[in-house]
């Protein structure tokens, strides 16, 4: 997606290649398992190569600040802004949208939020080292660490980068130049043995370890617990990755930045899980270093009946038990053929009914997502000025309402985006099957471009939040999973709750409150909610925001939704864990923690 080639076939190829590079960056070379020392040397050698390559953006360097924003999402060179003419543009060269003007965004933005491009709320430009508290170091630990030769840093910027994820309150504070507790030291192990040493030293010197992957957490998982008095060491696993040559098909929206270890320890989910499965389906073997020692299975059999699966203690443990050092994942050949698609439905109800039927017939494409009317309009506003890719559909759509598809209410219709992958023949066949089902629910095929654009937006939408924050608009997304029979109820009620809560909490302008169904399962779906509002006139916008988010989560739970489908619990959603898994369930998890890590070395206090 980095280039903007017009040719469909080779373009897809190129996109696939580029994705492959990103995924490959997260992959560990297939294990031979012979010698740990050998592996370590190998990976060390590799890292030095990677450092050179980092400027190309293949892998995140140790000093993230060289290429990434310290107080916003993603790469420093890529951002949305309103230029001198008041038009929105997206800078940089990395994305398909990069360098383009987005003419309709300003009006949509101002109209939706009651915002004004002349009312700016700029972020603090640079962080001063003095804002970061001096490190609270455990001298004995530092001395011992030095002797191992594993690289580490107590630089303020390095520490600041590892002290937060991407929750709204975290980014908001950074933009205001406010820095809370951050790790006291950052260490970059290169391989499994390095981790063993670090964990051993941490236990010996009673230091708190917080594993760090890609820093894309949205559950306050990386927040340093304020009650922690020990020295906190951030264990950055980003340098432990090797390149390989296949594809896992696991593509979470954050995949440019997130890490394999992070995926494992949060029970991540990828866009194409319909073909490849979620992380728990992809993982064959995991090695994790804990204070009690290393946990791993003795074989790579595809399924075991050996009591509860110990992998499931690791998957979703959110860094509370140890560090994942090695993962063996299933790999698949690159798909021969990829095709995007889209379907317009007269309303959201019909769209959901169609997705349910698709799920029932088990013919979901690699990805199928249903956006509500608000997001459909939002997508419309993001149409770039000149682009062969974007000409056909949306322009045509206006006329298409009134002429051919009269009867669709532009304020109610919604759109599903599709992505098919596989052999060419099969994809075409599959495509027909899905469109036939859609037709039964009043769905009309609405072109490939529209679909492709939908997926592209997935990767830039996080950048948009930073734009909003420049103009008094704060935004967040959150997700849940819910049985099919309650999808419509939950979507309606949670959206309504957000609107009512904002009003109740004194938000001056009606918020944006929107949702989409992003994954289908046999028995239910994953639903994403987006909400954003203009916070002018509020004395404590973050507090208001948190109240609304809290209420929205309560509403989700009241409507039969889960606490999280894939974002995890972290510290943000901890208070609902007991209700979610029952007291006994919580006790079971606690007893594992007590056994594995009695001294709470992995003291990020997530989950439990």
């Amino acid at each position: 997606m980095a280039t903007n080639s017009g040719n469909g076939g080779s373009d897809r190829q190129r996109v696939a290649q580029q994705r492959l590079r990103i995924i490959a960056g997260h992959l560990r070379r297939p294990e031979d398992g012979n010698s740990a020392i050998l592996a370590a040397e190998e990976c060390k050698g590799h890292v030095s190569e990677k450092t050179d390559a980092s400027s190309e953006g293949k892998t995140v360097p140790r000093r993230r600040q060289e290429i990434m924003k310290w107080n916003g999402w993603g790469y420093s060179d890529s951002k949305f802004l309103f230029n001198k003419n008041g038009q929105a543009e997206f800078t940089g060269k990395r994305y398909r949208l990069s360098g383009m003007i987005i003419p309709a965004l300003k009006d949509w933005f101002e109209g939706t939020f009651g915002a004004n491009v002349h009312h700016k709320s700029p972020a603090t430009p640079i962080v001063t080292s003095s804002a970061v508290q001096p490190p609270n170091l455990n001298e004995a630990f530092v001395e011992a660490l030095k002797s191992t030769g594993i690289p580490f840093s107590i630089d303020a910027e390095d520490r600041l980068f590892r002290g937060h994820g991407h929750c709204l309150n975290e980014i908001f504070a950074l933009r205001e130049g406010k820095v809370g507790r951050v790790p006291d030291l950052v260490v970059w192990p290169n391989c499994h043995d390095d981790v063993l040493k670090i964990v051993e030293l941490a236990c010996k010197h009673n230091v708190c370890l917080i594993p760090y992957g890609g820093g894309t957490s949205v559950s306050s998982a990386l927040e340093c617990p304020p009650e922690e008095t020990r020295s906190i060491v951030s264990l950055d696993t980003s340098q432990m990755l090797n390149e390989s040559g296949y594809c896992t098909g696991h593509e979470p929206d954050s995949m440019e930045f997130s890490s394999l270890g992070g995926w494992v320890s949060t029970r991540a989910s990828g866009m194409k899980k319909n073909v490849y499965g979620n992380i728990e389906d992809l993982v064959i073997h995991i090695k994790m270093v804990t204070p009690k020692g290393v946990i791993e299975k003795s074989c790579q059999g595809p399924r075991l009946s050996t009591g509860p699966d110990v992998h499931h203690f690791i998957l979703g443990s959110e860094g509370t038990l140890g560090v994942v050092t090695e993962v063996t994942m299933k790999i698949r050949p690159l798909p021969e053929y990829q095709k995007y698609g889209s379907v317009v439905f007269p309303n959201f109800e019909m769209g959901v009914a169609c997705l349910r039927e698709v799920a029932r017939q088990r013919c979901a494409p690699a990805s199928i997502r249903l956006m509500d009317n608000t997001q459909f309009k939002f997508g419309h506003a993001l149409k770039p000025q000149v682009s062969s890719l974007f000409t056909s559909f949306l322009d045509g759509l206006k006329t298409f309402y009134i002429t051919k598809f009269k009867g669709f209410d532009p304020n109610r219709l919604c759109v599903a985006t599709l992505l098919f992958e596989g052999g060419r023949e099969k994809v075409l066949q599959h495509e027909k099957q899905v469109y036939d089902i859609a037709a039964k629910f009043g769905g009309l095929a609405a072109g490939e471009d529209n679909g492709q654009r939908g997926y592209m937006l997935t990767f830039v939408i996080a950048y948009l939040r930073d734009l909003g924050m420049d103009y008094y608009v704060i935004a967040e997304s959150f997700e849940t999973s819910v049985p099919w029979d309650r999808v419509l109820d939950i979507c309606r009620n949670v959206k309504a709750r957000i609107v009512y809560e904002c009003k109740d909490k004194g938000v001056q302008f009606a918020p944006l409150s929107s949702c989409r169904v992003t994954q289908t399962y046999d028995s239910g779906a994953c639903v994403y909610f987006y909400f954003a509002f203009n916070y002018r006139g509020l004395s404590d916008p973050v507090h208001t925001f948190e109240q609304v988010e809290h209420a929205a989560r309560e509403e989700i739970l009241a409507n039969g939704g889960s606490l999280s489908h894939h974002h995890g619990v972290g510290k943000l959603r901890k208070k609902w864990m007991r209700d979610t898994v029952s007291t006994v369930g919580l006790g079971m998890l606690k007893s594992v923690k007590d056994y594995v890590d009695p001294d709470n070395i992995f003291g990020n206090r997530n989950l439990l």
Binding site: F348, P483, D485, R486, I490, A496, R497, D579
Partner: protein, 681 residues
């Protein structure tokens, strides 16, 4: 935490200067035909799924629903019928039940009703503020209109008003007997009525069809839903303990998250004079109610020749079920069973529904307007029957006392329908004129109008004589009942002070709670809010100077004797009637009674006591009071009910009944009684 009645109740309902507008005035100007042909353009519900749904679509949606399919399968399995047969039965029930709201018929009804209303009532008053808020509310969430039910007139008046003010017309839950009336049934159906059988009992299919029908109306928001939470029309003009079945059906879509919120609109309809007044009294005395038939209605046309004074329809503040239920219901509990399958309501849900239903009745009470006649009825009932029938009550004395009572009622927060521009004495005399069927004024003295003598020549037996007095007395009692809620709490405190013979607050509270238990079916109390009720009673008595209230004590003040004796006398007929019933149950040799037999027997027993001068209230003859006693005793676990052969049978624990009687008379101190949870649906 959870809210109580005080957070939602009357105080908020009362606009500072509420404007009632007389609809009749407008109508007299514009003409009936013009009214019925007016352009009707309501702003409809803006819910997500609100597309115009016809009555036929609604029926189809109900029959096709997953819920009904599931139940049909269950029933088929239980009864051995085929699923298709069960579904055919369901279709039949649906047909019997369903409404067929048509604007044309509303116009026709409107035309007729305009004529009738103009003839019957001097004014039909509506609070515009309430209508305006309702108009906004119907665009939001599904709206449930919850009027009190005192007269047949209630049935169409709401639709008539909504039609007049461009608000979507409701579908209305009505008793099945109305459906049986030729033509009228069909007209009602087309005016939006749907029909519910009286005794559904354990008919599983019927429950399923009805509840799915109601829930579908709420879910889709096709029209506001109107129903009477009290269930039946009140024969005594007193609020009745709410029925919970319909309330459950209405609320379930919210509990299950099928709608974001539901708006409840309590409506208080107050009549200065009720069409059915004499019919009601006779029913209570055991003269059976005529079956609702078209001819009976036509016979009633003589009713149309008379003046019924003014009517007030007070639309209460719309209440959000979501807010009301906050902290009372854990909606997560409803998610563990697939959405469309039947769920047994949890104890929590039952408590919440019961609370809400009681709350609505309380708000209806608060919203009702009290007429001068109602206040006068309180006082007339406190005079000995012989004074009313023979000597006559001095008019001046009654006037003074009524004005005194008016002040007390206002102190207690009542809304009065007391004309402001007219001298008080004129108000009084026109009131008496309006109610000449009950009283007549002769030589500055007021007399009760006795019931007509039976046509036959034979001499009137003493029992028949008693009945002739009883009928107008019960009519008076009904009008007193229109305002009894205003005084009920302070009156119970006044009684408690007398019974307990103490000034200690906590002891008084124990007696107060005991009285609430005993009269749980007589007056509307919210079970969990008795301490607030007690506080309110203390506050009101303090406010009118009747008592001093401190942390530990409630002491009677000198100036308070008049108030306290009035309040005690207000409650006395109830206490006496209950004691009679207790006595009968204890003294009669049997332990098991059939309901059909016990009521006439108690009536005979009470009649004897009245004739012998032992009992001073004719209210003991009311079947309503007797039934309330049985319900209260069941709740107090002194009586158990069974239906061995389709007949209600009661087994009495005489010892327990005697103890309750003794506590009520103050012979033994009351203790916390074991009460059974209300599990009726």
């Amino acid at each position: 935490m959870t809210n109580t009645y005080r957070d939602w109740g009357g105080a908020g309902l009362r606009g500072d200067d509420e404007e009632f507008v007389d609809m009749m005035e407008e109508l007299r100007r514009s003409g009936d035909l013009g009214h019925s042909l007016r352009t009707f353009s309501p702003r409809p519900y803006e819910g997500e799924r609100a597309t115009s749904v016809s009555a036929g679509d609604l029926n189809k949606a109900v029959l096709e629903s997953q819920y009904l399919r599931y139940i049909a399968k269950e029933i088929a399995k239980e009864t051995g019928q085929s699923v298709e047969e069960v579904r055919e039965d369901a279709r039949g029930l649906m047909e019997e039940m369903s409404q067929n709201l048509q604007l044309g018929f509303i116009r026709l009804m409107g035309y007729t009703l305009s004529k009738v209303l103009k003839r019957l009532y001097t004014s039909v008053n509506v609070n515009m503020e309430g209508l305006n808020t309702l108009q906004r509310a119907v665009q939001g969430h599904p709206v449930i209109l919850m009027p009190n039910h005192r007269s047949y007139m209630d049935f169409l008046i709401i639709s008539y008003i909504l039609f007049t003010y461009d608000i979507p017309l409701p579908v209305i839950a009505a008793g099945i007997r109305n459906a049986g009336m030729k033509m009228v049934g069909e007209i009602l159906r087309r005016s939006g009525a749907f029909f519910i059988r009286r005794a559904i009992g354990s008919d599983k299919l019927y429950w399923a069809v009805l509840s799915e029908y109601v829930k579908t109306i709420v879910r889709t928001g096709i029209a506001p839903l109107e129903f009477y939470v009290e269930g039946l029309r009140s024969r005594t003009l007193k609020s009745q303990v709410p029925k919970l079945g319909m309330m459950h059906m209405v609320l379930e879509p919210f509990f299950k998250g099928e709608v974001y919120d539901i708006t409840l609109v309590p409506i208080s309809i107050s009549y200065e004079r009720v069409l059915e007044e004499s019919l009601l009294a006779h029913e209570l005395l055991g003269v059976p109610k005529p079956k609702e038939s078209t001819t009976a209605l036509l016979k009633a046309t003589k009713v149309l020749q008379e003046d019924y004074g003014s009517m007030h329809v007070n639309f209460g503040r719309p209440l959000s079920v979501r807010q009301l239920c906050q902290g009372r219901i854990d909606r997560c509990r409803f998610n563990l069973i697939p959405r469309d399958l039947p769920q047994e309501p949890s104890a929590e849900a039952q408590a919440c529904v019961s609370w809400l239903a009681h709350l609505m009745v309380r708000i209806q009470e608060d919203g009702s307007l009290i007429s001068p006649w109602s206040l006068m009825a309180c006082l007339l009932l406190q005079a000995p029957a012989t004074v009313l029938t023979e000597e006559g009550l001095p008019w001046q004395q009654l006037t003074n006392k009524t004005l005194w009572l008016r002040k007390l009622a206002l102190d207690f927060g009542a809304r009065l329908n007391w004309p402001g521009q007219v001298p008080d004495c004129d108000v009084m005399s026109s009131t008496v004129a309006l109610h000449r069927s009950m009283v007549h004024l002769k030589a500055e003295r007021l007399y009760l109008v006795l019931d007509q003598e039976p046509a036959r020549k034979s001499p009137v037996s003493p029992e028949e004589g008693a009945l002739r007095v009883a009928a107008p007395v019960l009519m008076l009692a009904s009008y007193r009942n229109q305002c009894v809620h205003v005084f009920a709490r302070p009156a119970m405190l006044a009684t408690a002070i007398q019974v307990a013979k103490t000034t200690q607050r906590d002891e008084l509270f124990t007696v107060f709670r005991f009285l609430q238990d005993v009269f749980s079916h007589e007056f509307i109390f919210i079970t969990e809010e008795s301490s607030q009720d007690f506080e309110e009673a203390c506050l009101l008595l303090k406010k009118c100077g009747a008592v001093h209230v401190s942390q530990q004590e409630v002491t009677v003040s000198e100036a308070g004797l008049e108030v306290l004796s009035f309040l005690r006398a207000l409650l006395q007929p109830f206490i006496d009637s209950y004691q009679v019933m207790f006595r009968y149950l204890c003294e009669n040799g049997e332990h098991v009674f059939q309901e059909q037999r016990v009521l006439p027997a108690v009536r005979n027993f009470a009649t004897k006591l009245i004739l012998s001068g032992e009992l001073h209230t004719y209210e003991a003859l009311s079947s309503d009071t007797q039934k309330n006693v049985l319900l209260a005793l069941r709740r107090l676990d002194a009586v158990t009910k069974s239906r061995p052969s389709g007949q209600n049978e009661y087994r009495v624990n005489k010892e327990a009944v005697r103890r309750i009687g003794d506590m009520l008379s103050g012979k033994i101190p009351p203790q916390m009684l074991h009460t059974l949870p209300d599990a009726r649906l």
